[in-house]
Symmetry: C2
Amino acid sequence: MFEDRRLYDGAAGRQTPADQATVRRSNLGLVLRHLRDAGPRSRARIAQDTGLNKATVSSLVAELADRRLVTTGDVDRAGSVGRPGLTVHLDGRGVCGIGVELNVDYIAILVLDLRGEVLVERRVPLDVHDLGAEATLDEVARLVGKGQAAAAERGAVPVGVTVAVPGLVRSADGVATYAPNIGWHDVPVLDGLRARVDFDGAIRVENDANLSAIAEWAMGPEARTPDLVYLTGEVGVGGGLIVDGRLLRGAGGLSGEVGHTALGDPELVCGCGRRGCWETVVGLTALLRAAADPDDPVHDPNRDLETRLAEIAARADAGDRRTLDALQQVGTELGSGAAVLINVFNPQVVLLGGYFAVLGRFLTEPMAAELRARVFGPDLAGARIVLSTLGFTAAVRGGAHVALESVFDDPTLVPATGGDGASPAIGS
Amino acid sequence: MFEDRRLYDGAAGRQTPADQATVRRSNLGLVLRHLRDAGPRSRARIAQDTGLNKATVSSLVAELADRRLVTTGDVDRAGSVGRPGLTVHLDGRGVCGIGVELNVDYIAILVLDLRGEVLVERRVPLDVHDLGAEATLDEVARLVGKGQAAAAERGAVPVGVTVAVPGLVRSADGVATYAPNIGWHDVPVLDGLRARVDFDGAIRVENDANLSAIAEWAMGPEARTPDLVYLTGEVGVGGGLIVDGRLLRGAGGLSGEVGHTALGDPELVCGCGRRGCWETVVGLTALLRAAADPDDPVHDPNRDLETRLAEIAARADAGDRRTLDALQQVGTELGSGAAVLINVFNPQVVLLGGYFAVLGRFLTEPMAAELRARVFGPDLAGARIVLSTLGFTAAVRGGAHVALESVFDDPTLVPATGGDGASPAIGS
């Protein structure tokens, strides 16, 4: 297999040989993705936008309709030359992707259909560290089963499941190699789930921050920002990096590990055994410890996280000095570490997720002050600090999105109805 | 213009509409690049490797030969099916690319022909900071003129000039926006050279570490490593990052600024005015200060850098305690900062250039020890530490390589001879 790699000026397209069937699948995906990203439009407009000829577009649209991925309706007059054509809409209510997250103190599921509509969303408090891997995977499998059932009630068949894990993941075989905040070492998440769930489609396992970054890129407030650094704070601190419109995965899928990187106080010892980890100064535990005595109810992991964060915000709004100082300190440390990432990556946007977003209005000012002192390029090298609006759903949304991408890569994965309207049965 | 962006699983090719002439240029480039990267081979083999059909390959090779970019000769028997064919070789002795570097205490030039042969290489000591921008650009222009003349003597016409600058560069208009080690702010390098040199081809201005990383990727000991962090030490410390086979440029071309990033002792004040810059603990000045008293001749910037570094190495080999301690300290600090980059990028290789390579045998052991303590993934997340063999020529080689890339992108830039063997006259 020949690969044309080029480094400098990546503008020119790669060229690889392709057979007819591959070209057809690729063109089906091209049209489907374009309808998702650019919105409903006529066949003529699709031809104009994509450079495909009109006859090809008509044939592709017919096939997508037969697979129930698009519908036609309404007359499109905007931008059309000659007589108006029927508008083609992305449909795909019959297929869905499932995102699952397991985190330190909860597991969550979210099911998206092909149009990006949320069909199912659930979140279950769970002490994953204490429960251990096997029992946690039992719970995750149960949640996936519930998600499948709820999706089926809506007439949607899942094409894939993606599991978000708070730690290092070897994507190739879906093993969580190292996730210190939940105490996991080399847990075979993919095999464990495969044995537990009644699903023969694709199951993927990914780092949670990477999936969150994908969600932000696909559907967040700064969607399609080519160069984006996503930082999320919970008990752990994660990073997802998007470079030139693509997730930076690294050689072994281990990129973006900012939480256990020496961006913090070099003397502080982290739970992972290292010194100076950023997590020790910007993680949720660091904030809570600075803001409240050990017996303060905001520390209680059995209480809902958003309620506890709302309490912190209320105290800050009431002018509580200790709370304000703690937030100021975390904001400064956020800026100190983020400056390194800005100097190295030069992103357009640093996007804050997780608790950083919930308490963002108290964090961004000290963060920006520190950034101004530390970023080498002028005006933060053009970077803006933005708060995510996806909240704690980013990882599950990213997981569902990734599961659905396989349909956009190859719409023929969804069986044709042959016009009989029968429900599709989707395998791997 | 429609762009098909996809984030997750970048394996599938992008699809963009293309006219006949664009396809022809792209295929000419494809064949030319393949001959460079994979070596001489028959037309049949090229067809097999690239997926182009044989008739197309024959026509492309004929056109490349007419442009004197390839020659045919010798019979190729290896891997051929049916009767052997004449081997096609990359030629291109008639075209060359020019790389120029301006650094703190020297300017340098290197001219490569299309085959990667060095036609000209020169290095002139110069105190760029004291001389100022205008006089330095005069010197650079003079050096380019000499390079052009020397290349012409070898029968090679330059297709482009790339200038390496040790600081932030706005590539779009070739302005060196901020280069503290030479005291430059907003110097219009491109316009300044355009006015001074007799050359109407492409002139580009780039960050020196980025160009060095490109050279390493194209022709260094770890060529074609998809994920590579290149670190170079001189008076300044630079970083060039290659992600999935492409140079990471960042939103404004300001990426890789590791030297003035807070990866060092947080208390140390840098020449740039910030605290904690990595340069203050791993730059050449930090090493020399730790290794020798102020009046020691190794500090003398008027002496050749390689001689001074050889002296440091000789002292270390002789067991001089102070020298060994200084190298140990720099190696440890190199590891401390590189651990951050490994955690964030997860590269296959961290490649050390500049003085880090020259003194590498003293630096890598303490560096690796620190990395083992700090990198989050197992076994340095798979990263290897490698010393560059391109030495201080990396930036100029990268510059020449970039200049030549325009020919591989579009071989029709080189005029056809029409079989009369006349020298090509190459414009922009």
